[in-house]
């Protein structure tokens, strides 16, 4: 079966099979789809936000060893904002990061969003988790937060706060929830100069933007497909 490479958008590579996922209303999003949108957001909201590639985060969790690879700052944890403002790091969480079966292709069942507000003075840094299926990815998100905290040598009393997030109404839209949540937060962070955010403020931002209706997410899939198709045309 032929599966051509359709697009290479700043290293976010999409094959025909990835586009097929988005064209179907109920197919689970893979990391290529997630990374494409996160890379798009990274271009749009570059000043205060960084978006991590899920395969890089998987590498960080499974292969990257602090003792051996400590010099390779794969997540950019040693690069806070120069001007002392908060840097927001968006970390797409997959349960595969803590799964026993992570060595099979297509592993994982659930996406959620971990947000790190990174401060130059590291003890000001905070972790928030948004999960459209509350509780499902708590273990994976906490494992990521704790590994990052070990690397940063920052040990807060609350390693991570669970935020109240809009809940998915089906068994296939968690990837879109994750991406919609990331976009809502990135827009809010980029629209002002504000550095400090409270948990309930973040929850309000997400609640006001991310709907739970099926049409919201089917429109989102369509918009992604259109975006990809226009980028392919520009490319050719």
């Amino acid at each position: 079966m032929s599966n051509p490479l359709l697009l290479n958008y700043h290293d976010a590579v999409l094959y025909q099979s990835d586009l097929n996922i988005l064209e179907s209303p109920r197919v689970w999003l893979n990391d290529a789809c997630m990374n494409f949108v996160l890379t798009r957001l990274g271009k749009e909201f570059a000043s205060r936000c960084r978006f991590v590639d899920p395969s890089v985060l998987s590498f960080f969790m499974h292969q990257w060893d602090e003792e051996e690879d400590g010099d390779e700052d794969v997540l950019g944890l040693k690069r806070p904002q120069d001007d002392g403002s908060t840097l927001f790091l968006f970390l797409p969480i997959n349960d595969n990061y803590v799964s026993q079966n992570w060595t099979n292709p297509g592993g994982g069942t659930h996406w959620s969003l971990l947000l790190l507000a990174m401060e130059k003075k590291k003890d000001g840094s905070q972790f928030w988790h948004f999960d459209s299926s509350a509780g499902s990815n708590q273990r994976a998100a906490l494992a990521v937060a704790q590994k990052i905290q070990r690397v940063m040598n920052h040990h807060p009393k609350h390693p991570m706060e669970e935020c109240t997030a809009p809940q998915q109404q089906n068994g296939y839209d968690c990837g879109l929830h994750t991406l919609a949540t990331a976009r809502a937060l990135a827009m809010a962070f980029s629209s002002g100069e504000e550095n400090k955010f409270r948990k309930d403020t973040l929850e309000d931002i997400v609640r006001q933007t991310v709907a739970t209706s099926p049409s919201f997410f089917s429109k989102m899939r369509q918009a992604m497909v259109q975006d990809i198709q226009s980028l392919i045309q520009e490319d050719s």
Binding site: E72, N94, P105, G108, T109, D173
Partner: protein, 89 residues
């Protein structure tokens, strides 16, 4: 231009691809060969679709159009192969 500079790119190097289980596969390629060729061959050998594999060098994505020369890969250097992940429910 010295002879050495002229032949650079023609001399093959060995690249080690490490998968997520730690298993290594070796590829002998020219420094001017696109990495896409390594990706496709690797996928074929592993019996999976190239679209389900992602390749990283020191934690950064490798683009299929890049060459070992552009990536400054030397003989016996290692790249990592990550697998597709998914989620929905």
């Amino acid at each position: 231009m010295s002879d050495e500079a002229k032949t650079e790119g023609a001399e093959p190097i060995t690249i080690r691809v490490r998968d997520q289980t730690g298993e290594e596969t070796f590829f002998k390629i020219k420094k001017s060969t696109k990495m896409q060729k390594v990706f496709d061959t690797y996928a074929q050998r592993k019996g999976v679709q190239a679209s389900s594999l992602r390749f990283l060098l020191d934690g950064e994505r490798i683009e299929p159009n890049q060459t070992p020369k552009m990536l400054e890969l030397d003989d016996q250097d290692q790249i990592d192969c990550m697998l597709e992940q998914t989620g929905g429910c």
